[in-house]
């Protein structure tokens, strides 16, 4: 037998796409073209996947010998399965893992260990899956996550037990979530959210990751960061540094439940608040938001709280002029809009109003950072 290239091997003169062998402990598959095993693999002999092709397992397997992916991809399910699985620990040591279910599967419970950079792919955008009870041992490795959004925007949640931390998480496409009821297996790692991708939460997790946002509002328009819960009191708290990539505009969204950012928002990018909920940002004495891009509130409320232990916080807006655009009809009479709990160094003797009734006037009071709008 000789390996010919990355897509095949030769046995004699014959081109081979799958080589199967075994030891007493493992079945070994050298796969060069997509190969499906639909039968249930049972017993105590494990499975080792080599070769650049994809090995697809579509059964509810019961074997207990463990799984190692050294190259290529091991795919669980083929898009028609609801409960395909492998038990025990799947070790990604140069290979990748994919899930393709035809039903929402909230209880995928195998453990995953990384010993090298790996990619986890979730196919079928119509179905959400939760990696629920197994342990993710990241080993300080880099995990790339690709959530296919061709057919829909259903996310991939990592809710299992937290083992050793990952070093880096790259969300390449689609939505990736953490539920506060799980062990937050993605905790501690730096997270990079590609343009158009999304990091989302459910319940009230504390997200300690440093997160870089590269623009966009996620695959569903709800935000590059999104609290998807609609349960009052479900408030994620982001304690890490959120960096807005230069030249990008990233949305952060929530609806009936709140959203808190206690870490620093930094970078040369811009930021847009979307969704009807309240987003609160507040800082410590030594960590103050210093992002330099623009801030847009397209829906809901952005609440900038004063730094702890500071009685009279002061902000300095980067804009030399104040222009306020209203997306809803203002009532007649006087309406006050307080930007944050403190004063600003900017005074803005004149204010430009956009999309308001004729004759509307406004005064900005820097001492209270309040805009008073008077509609005739």
């Amino acid at each position: 037998m000789k390996l010919t290239d990355s897509s095949a091997a030769n046995v004699g003169l014959s081109v081979v796409r799958c080589i199967a062998s075994s030891t007493t402990l493992f079945r070994h598959f050298m796969v060069y073209a997509a190969t499906t095993i639909s039968s249930v693999i049972s017993g105590t002999v494990g499975l080792i996947k080599n070769g650049t092709g994809t090995l697809i397992s579509t059964a509810v397997n019961t074997y207990t010998g463990g799984t190692t992916v050294n190259s290529g991809t091991l795919q669980i399910g083929n898009g028609t399965n609801a409960t395909a699985r492998v038990l025990g620990t799947t070790t990604l040591s140069g290979g990748n893992l994919a899930y393709n279910y035809n039903a929402n599967n909230f209880a995928v419970n195998g453990s995953i260990t990384l010993t090298a950079t790996a990619t986890i792919t979730k196919l079928n955008g119509l179905r959400q899956i939760n990696l629920q009870t197994g342990t993710l041992n990241g080993g300080s490795q880099t995990l790339n996550i690709f959530v296919d959004t061709t057919a829909g925007t259903a996310p991939l949640y990592f809710n299992g037990t937290a083992g050793t931390s990952l070093g880096q998480v790259n969300i390449l496409n689609g939505g990736v979530g953490q539920d506060g009821t799980g062990g937050l297996p993605l905790r501690n790692a730096a997270i990079n959210v590609s343009s158009g991708a999304q990091f989302r939460t459910y319940t009230s997790p504390t997200i300690n990751n440093n997160i870089t946002l590269n623009g966009g509002a996620g695959p569903d328009g709800n935000g590059a960061l999104w609290n998807e819960s609609v349960v009052a009191g479900h408030t994620p708290i982001y304690t890490g540094i959120i960096t807005l990539a230069t030249g990008t505009n990233s949305s952060v969204g929530n609806t009936t439940s709140a959203f808190s950012i206690t870490g620093k928002i930094t970078g040369a990018g811009s930021f847009t608040k979307v969704g009807t909920g309240i987003l609160s940002t507040f800082s410590t004495l030594t960590v103050v938001n210093d992002y330099t891009g623009s801030t847009t509130i397209s829906a809901g409320t952005l609440r900038v709280l004063k730094p702890f232990a500071i009685t009279t916080p002061t902000a300095s807006f980067t804009s030399t002029t104040l222009s306020v655009s209203f997306s809803s009809t203002l009532p007649s009479g006087t309406t006050n809009f307080q930007f944050f709990q403190g004063s600003t160094t900017n005074t803005y003797a004149s204010v430009t109003l956009v999309s308001v009734p004729a004759g509307t006037t406004a005064v900005y009071t820097s001492a209270t950072s309040t805009l008073t709008v008077i509609v005739p």
Binding site: R17, A20, S21, I37
Partner: protein, 74 residues
């Protein structure tokens, strides 16, 4: 039928429309209806599904259960 190994001990099959059964001792390594060309230095049996199941019973193999017939529960 069991595929006869070549002089180096490799059994090979690239037929289409057949079931392919690879086993070593009493353990099934691979059992699937597939058009993928497959090679092994273990035993390779190629045939219809019924022929493969007869082989599984004859040799008393275990380790993989066909999802429709629950062969050789272990």
């Amino acid at each position: 039928m069991i595929i006869t190994p070549d002089e180096n001990g490799w059994s090979y099959d690239d037929s289409t429309g057949n079931w392919k059964l690879v086993y070593s001792d009493k353990v099934i390594i691979f059992y699937e209806e597939t058009n993928v060309s497959i090679a092994t230095q273990s035993t390779l049996f190629v045939g219809t599904k019924d022929e493969c199941e007869e082989e599984i019973i004859r040799v008393e193999l275990n380790g993989i259960q066909n999802t429709h017939n629950d062969l050789n529960n272990t």
